[in-house]
C-alpha cells in the first residue's frame, strides 16, 4: 500500500475540501477519514485508483455509467402510469466500502436476525408461544395489516421457510455503530437494482472493478434460483416458476421485469393466473399451464380476493387455499408481512433470548411502542420530543414539533384512542460517507442507507432449532438520503463493496447477455396477456408512424404554401387525412377588408401551424403523445420480451416525446417527426431481428400490418375519391407518406398516373407497402397462429383475410383505369376499397376473440365493505 503522502496534490485538495465540508462535527463518524483526518485503510486502494483516474476521468466515467443506466431503462415510477413521472437515479461512481472485519460482524448479525424472524413467524402462525407466554403483546400482532388470520388456520401444509428472500435496511450512526432500521419480508425490492448497478459500474470503471478485492455477487441469484426451484411441490423437475407483479403501474416494475428476465421466470399479473382443480395455472396461448412456484411481488392483503382483501383486483381467487394445500409454493409465504412491524424492534432482544436463547447481535432502532402504558405516558407527556409512525403507514414520519397546535392535539387524541398503533422514535444521527456529485465535480460527505439481502436455503438446515441456513448477499444497494428515507425518494444510489480478505476471481455474472436477449418462453407458453400487448405494440407503433408521416407532410405543405389561398393547397386534404378540423375561417369577412392581404395570410399560417403543433401536446386519443403513451404502456407490460437494444430506442423515443410540447417552429417539428419515424423503424427493425419468430413476434406483426393496411386504404380513399384538390401534388404526398415515392420514380420513371399508383399500392405483391403484399403476409402469419381447438374449420380471422384477398384478386382492372375522368371508375374503386376495409376492420376483434384472455374480472358473491 502506498504512503498517503504519495497521493497527488489534486486528491489532497479533494480530501481537504471533503474535510472542510464535514464542518465542525469532527467527532462524528465518517466512513472515509478517521478522527485524525487520515484516510481509513479500507479506502486506501480505492482512493489510489481514483487518484489515478483523475477528476476528469471520474466525471467522464460517471457520465458513461449514467448513460448506461438510462439506456438500460432503469426507472421506477411511483404508482403512476405517466411517462413524465418515471424517474431514474443518479449512480454514484464511488461505492460504499465495508471492511472484511465489519462484514464478518454484520453477516453474523444478519444471519441471526433472519433466523430469528423465521422462527418467530413460524411460532406466530403456529403455536403462538410468544403471545401465550407474554413475550409479545397480542395487540401488537393482531392490529398489524401484515397479520393474516387466514394464514393462521390449522391444516396448513407449510413445511418450508416462510421468508425465502428478505431485505434488511442498515445504517451506521454518528458513533460508528451499525443499526438495523427495518426488515422487508414480503417482496423485498433492490436485488435487481443492486446487480444492475454493479454491472453498469463495472463496465464504466472496468479497471477499478477488475482489480478490486471485492466479494462478487454472481453466486447469490443462482442460489436464489435454486432455492425457489426446490420449493416446488413434490420436488417437480424443471418447475414452472412465475414472478407475480402488480403490473407496469407499480413502482418496482422495472425490477420485476429485470428479475424475471435474468432468472428466466414468466412475468405474470394476477389475471394471468387461475386456480383450477386445486392448483394454480397460467393462461397461455396453448391453454392452462400448471405453476409450481410463485415469486410474488404483491403485498400480503392483495393476493387473494376470496380470503384476503375482497376488493383486490391484483390477486388470484383461491390462491391462499392452493398454498394451504401445498399445491403451489409462494415465496415469500403469505402472512410474513407482520414481521415488518416497526414496533417489533423493541421486542427483538427479548424474543432472541426467548426463541434462540442467545443475545441479539445486531441492534435495531431504539423505538418505544405506545401500546405499553408507561411508554405511552412518557411519549404523551413530551410529544414534541418524539417522532412517531403509525403501524399502517410506516413510511410516513409524524413530527409533532413541526405541527400546529390543532394537528398535534388531533395526533394526541389518536394516540390515546389506539396507543398500540403507534411507535415513537428519536431522529437518527447518521455517519457520513463520501459521495461524488457529477454536477459540481465535488466529493462531499453524505448520509447513506444500506439494504442487504438474506436468503433462506431450504435444503440446508442450521443445527439449532431446524431453522434454515441463511446466506447474506455480499453487497447490496446503498442510497444517499437521511436514514429511514425510502429508496424511491432518494436521488442517488451507490454500489456496496464488501472487501474480501483474499482476492476473488472475477466470476462473470456480469457477462449478462450483451447482445439481444433471446426470449425462450415464447411458444405455446406465452401468456395470452403478453400476446395481446405485443399485438397492440404493433398497432399503436404503426399508427404512430403513419400519423407522424402525415404530420410531416402537412408541415412541409404548410411551410411551402401555407400563405396561399387555402383552397389552392393540399392542407385541407391533409387535415382530413389527419382527421383534424381546419381553423374556422375568420368569422369576419368584414374584418379582412380592414386587413391587408399579407396580414390575413400570416394570420392563417399561424392558425394552421398552431393546430398542427398543438398535436404535439394534445392529450386526446390519436394525438401523438397519446399514441406514444399507449405504445409505451404496452411495451412496459412486456418489458421482459423486448431486447435491450429495442428497449433503448424506446427510451430515446421517450426523450423525444418529452421535448415535443416545447417545439415552436414548423421546421423543428418536421425534424422531430423524422426522428420519431426513424426511431420507430429502428425499434421494429430490432424487434424483428432479435425476437424469435414465434407467436409473440407474429402477433406484433399482425398488429402492425393490419394497422398499416387500413391506413393505406384510407389514404387511397382520400387521394382518389374524396379529395378536394386531387391531382399530382396530392398523389405525390400519398406516395411520400407511405415511403413509396422513390420506388415509383425508379419503376415508372415518369409522371404520376393514378393507374400506376394503384398498381403499386394495391396490387403489386412484391412491394412491401402494397395492400396485396400485406394481405399475403397477414395470411401467412395467421396460418401459423396456434389453434386452440382442433376444429377442421378455418378461424374467423383466416376467413376475413380470404375475403379481402379475393375482392382484391377478382376486381376487374379495366373498370379502374380511367379514374381521372370517369365517375364509374371512381365508384368501382370506392366499392373495392370498402370491400377491403370491412374485413380488415373486423380482423382486430377476431384475433382478439380467438387468442386473448377474456376472463371477466372475478367478483364477490357478497361484498363486505368493512375496514380491513
Amino acid at each position: 500500500m502506498r504512503n498517503p503522502s504519495v497521493i497527488s496534490p489534486l486528491m489532497q485538495k479533494l480530501l481537504a475540501d471533503y474535510q472542510a465540508e464535514r464542518g465542525s462535527d469532527f467527532d462524528d463518524y465518517d466512513d472515509l477519514v478517521n478522527r485524525e483526518g487520515q484516510v481509513r485503510a479500507r479506502w486506501q486502494p480505492l482512493v489510489e485508483e481514483l487518484d489515478e483516474l483523475g477528476l476528469e476521468g471520474l466525471q467522464q466515467r460517471s457520465i458513461e455509467a449514467q448513460n448506461l443506466l438510462y439506456e438500460n431503462g432503469v426507472t421506477f415510477n411511483v404508482y403512476e402510469d405517466d411517462v413524465r413521472k418515471m424517474r431514474s437515479w443518479q449512480l454514484d461512481p464511488i461505492p460504499y466500502v465495508i471492511s472484511p472485519q465489519s462484514w464478518a460482524m454484520l453477516e453474523g448479525g444478519m444471519r441471526q436476525r433472519a433466523r430469528l424472524l423465521e422462527i418467530l413467524v413460524e411460532d406466530l402462525y403456529g403455536e403462538r408461544r410468544v403471545i401465550r407466554d407474554g413475550v409479545l403483546p397480542p395487540e401488537l400482532v393482531y392490529s398489524h395489516p401484515g397479520w393474516l388470520f387466514p394464514a393462521a388456520d390449522s391444516g396448513n401444509l407449510y413445511e418450508r421457510p416462510r421468508v425465502i428472500l428478505q431485505g434488511m435496511d442498515v445504517m451506521r450512526n454518528h458513533q460508528g455503530e451499525w443499526r438495523v432500521l427495518g426488515d422487508w419480508t414480503q417482496a423485498p425490492s433492490g436485488v435487481g437494482y443492486s446487480l444492475e448497478n454493479r454491472i453498469v459500474l463495472s463496465r464504466a470503471l472496468s479497471r477499478l472493478y477488475r482489480d478490486a478485492p471485492l466479494s462478487r455477487l454472481a453466486g447469490f441469484l443462482q442460489a436464489y434460483h435454486r432455492c425457489l426451484a426446490e420449493l416446488a411441490p413434490a420436488q417437480r423437475e424443471n418447475p414452472n416458476i412465475v414472478l407475480l407483479t402488480p403490473g407496469p403501474g407499480s413502482s418496482g416494475y422495472f425490477e420485476h421485469a429485470w428479475l424475471a428476465n435474468y432468472m428466466n421466470f414468466s412475468l405474470v399479473e394476477g389475471g394471468d393466473l387461475v386456480v383450477r382443480d386445486g392448483h394454480v395455472a397460467m393462461r397461455t396461448l396453448g391453454g392452462l399451464k400448471r405453476v409450481d412456484v410463485i415469486v410474488r411481488q404483491i403485498t400480503d392483503p392483495w393476493c387473494d380476493p376470496l380470503e384476503l382483501r375482497g376488493d383486490s383486483l391484483l390477486g388470484v381467487p383461491g390462491l391462499v387455499q392452493a398454498a394451504r394445500r401445498g399445491e403451489v409454493a409462494i415465496a415469500n409465504t403469505l402472512g410474513v408481512g407482520v414481521l415488518e412491524h416497526p414496533a417489533l424492534a423493541a421486542f427483538l432482544p427479548g424474543l432472541c433470548q426467548y426463541l434462540l436463547n442467545e443475545p441479539l447481535l445486531l441492534s435495531g432502532r431504539d423505538v418505544l411502542w405506545c401500546g405499553q402504558p408507561d411508554y405511552c405516558q412518557s411519549v404523551l407527556s413530551d410529544l414534541n420530543h418524539w417522532q412517531l409512525r403509525e403501524v399502517h403507514d410506516v413510511n410516513q414520519v409524524l413530527v409533532p414539533a413541526q405541527m400546529d397546535v390543532p394537528e398535534r392535539e388531533a395526533l394526541r387524541r389518536s394516540i390515546e384512542a389506539g396507543p398500540h398503533l403507534y411507535v415513537a422514535e428519536q431522529p437518527l444521527q447518521p455517519a457520513s460517507t463520501p459521495s461524488f456529485d457529477l454536477k459540481t465535480g465535488k466529493v462531499s460527505p453524505q448520509p447513506v442507507n444500506l439494504r442487504f439481502f438474506a436468503l433462506a436455503d431450504p435444503s440446508e438446515r442450521a443445527d439449532e432449532g431446524g431453522a434454515p441456513k441463511h446466506r447474506i448477499m455480499p453487497g447490496g444497494l446503498a442510497w444517499v438520503a437521511q436514514p429511514g428515507t425510502a429508496i424511491m425518494d432518494s436521488q442517488m444510489v451507490k454500489d456496496i463493496w464488501v472487501l474480501s480478505p483474499v482476492a476473488q476471481p472475477h466470476v462473470s455474472l456480469l457477462q449478462r447477455a450483451k447482445g439481444p436477449i433471446l426470449v425462450t418462453r415464447d411458444g405455446m407458453d406465452l401468456p395470452s396477456r403478453v400476446a395481446e400487448s405485443l399485438f397492440w405494440i404493433g398497432r399503436y407503433g404503426e399508427r404512430l408512424d403513419n400519423r407522424s408521416r402525415l404530420m410531416r407532410e402537412a408541415l412541409t405543405s404548410l411551410v411551402e404554401e401555407g400563405q396561399s389561398e387555402l383552397e389552392e393547397t393540399l392542407l385541407p386534404d391533409l387535415f382530413s387525412a389527419l382527421k383534424l378540423t381546419l381553423p374556422e375561417e375568420e368569422a369576419s369577412q368584414t374584418e379582412s377588408v380592414v386587413r391587408s392581404d399579407a396580414s390575413v395570410s400570416v394570420h392563417q399560417f399561424m392558425q394552421l401551424r398552431n393546430v398542427l403543433l398543438g398535436q404535439f401536446s394534445e392529450e386526446e386519443s390519436d394525438a401523438l403523445p397519446w399514441l406514444f403513451s399507449s405504445l409505451l404502456r404496452n411495451c412496459r407490460a412486456v418489458r421482459d420480451h423486448l431486447g435491450d437494444d429495442a428497449w433503448r430506442t424506446i427510451n430515446t423515443l421517450r426523450q423525444t416525446f418529452n421535448s415535443l410540447p416545447s417545439i415552436q417552429g414548423a421546421n423543428a417539428g418536421q425534424r422531430s417527426l423524422e426522428d420519431i419515424v426513424t426511431l420507430l423503424a429502428a425499434f421494429f427493425g430490432l424487434s424483428n431481428e432479435t425476437m424469435p419468430h414465434h407467436f409473440g413476434w407474429r402477433f406484433m406483426d399482425i398488429g402492425r400490418i393490419t394497422e398499416r393496411c387500413i391506413a393505406s386504404l384510407e389514404l387511397l380513399q382520400l387521394a382518389m375519391i374524396t379529395a378536394q384538390k386531387p391531382g399530382t401534388d396530392l398523389w405525390e404526398t400519398v406516395l411520400a407518406s407511405t415511403d413509396n415515392l422513390t420506388v415509383y420514380r425508379r419503376r415508372y420513371r415518369s409522371q404520376l398516373y393514378p393507374a400506376a399508383i394503384l398498381d403499386l399500392l394495391l396490387f403489386d405483391e412484391t412491394n412491401p407497402r402494397s395492400v396485396g403484399y400485406m394481405l399475403k403476409r397477414l395470411e401467412t402469419q395467421i396460418q401459423h397462429l396456434p389453434h386452440p381447438d382442433t376444429s377442421p374449420f378455418r378461424s374467423q380471422e383466416a376467413r376475413l383475410i380470404i375475403q379481402a384477398t379475393s375482392h382484391l384478386h377478382l376486381v376487374d382492372l379495366d373498370t379502374l383505369l380511367d379514374l381521372e375522368s370517369s365517375a364509374e371508375s371512381q365508384a368501382a374503386l370506392g366499392d373495392l376499397l370498402d370491400q377491403l376495409l370491412t374485413p380488415l376492420n373486423a380482423l382486430s376483434d377476431a384475433v382478439s376473440h380467438s387468442h386473448f384472455t377474456h376472463a371477466e374480472t372475478p367478483k364477490q358473491l357478497v361484498s363486505l365493505q368493512g375496514v380491513f
Binding site: D153, S154, L306, P317, A417, E856, L861
Partner: protein, 296 residues
Amino acid sequence: MKYQLRHTTRYDYSSPVSLSHNEARLLLRDLPWQHCSNTRLIIKPAPLRQHERKDFFGNRVVYFAIADIHESLEVTVLSKVTTQARPQPDVNSMAWEQAVQSLAPGTVQFDAADNEENLAARLYTLNSPFIRRSEALRDFAQAHFTPGRSLVEAVLAMNCSIFEEFTYDQEFSTLATPLDEVLENRKGVCQDFAHLAIGALRSIGLAARYVSGYLETLPPPGQEKLLGADASHAWLSVYLPGWGWFDIDPTNGNQPNERYLTLAWGRDYADVTPLKGVMNGGGAHELEVAVDVLPI
C-alpha cells in the same frame, strides 16, 4: 333440547358462472353444551374440490370450488343438534373496572393459567373490520357501566336497554350499516345490535366477540309452525376474566339458552360470513334462504 337443523342458501344468477371459489362457515361448532351429529353439507352443483379446515377462531370452514358452468348455487346443511343448559356466572363476582384492568396491556392480575386466557381475550378488545371503537359508543356504554358496578350486572343492563330502546327494522339495515347510524337512528337487525353491543364494550376496554347461529322461533299461540320461517341469528359473547365467555342477545334482551344453536364466532360478521365466494361471470343474482330449527 334436540333439534333437526336445516339451512338452505340458494343463489340464482342472471348469467352463467364458469368458475367459482367459495368458503362456507355453515357447520356448527361442538361445545360443552352443544353436540352435533349426522351433519351433512350438500352443495349443488357438485364441487370439483372440497376441503374442510378450522380457522383461527376454531370455526369449521369448508372451501369448495365449482368448475362446471352453472346458473345457480345451492348449499344445504342438515344436522341433529342436542343442546343443554349453559353455565351461569356469579352476578357479583367482579366490578367491571377490575375486568378492564386485567385486560389492559402491561398488567398481570391473575395466576398464570388465567393470564393466558386474558391474553387470548385481548384480541377481542381491538378494532375489527366492521367495528371501530368510538367516543359515542363509549358514552353509550357508560350509561350502564357506572363506577363500581358489577360486570355481569352492567352487561345485562346494557343488553336489556338495547332490546328496549332500539327497533328491529329489516328495511333500515344493509350488510354494512355503520355503527354510528345504528346508534343515531336506534334501528337495525340482530347483526347491527350485536355489533353495537360489541363496539360499546370494546370502547370501555372490555373484550367481546360476535356469535352467529340459529334460534328456534315459536309460532304465535294456537298456530302451526311454518316451515322455513326460522332465521339465522346473531348475538355476542362478553369475556368475564377468570370465568370465561358469557353470551347475551341484545335483539331479544335475554341470555342465549337451550333454544340457541351456536354456529361460529369471530371478531365481527366479517370473520363468520356464512357463505362467500368469488366467481367469474354470474351477472346479477337473487338470493333465497330457508332455515328450519325443528324440535324432535
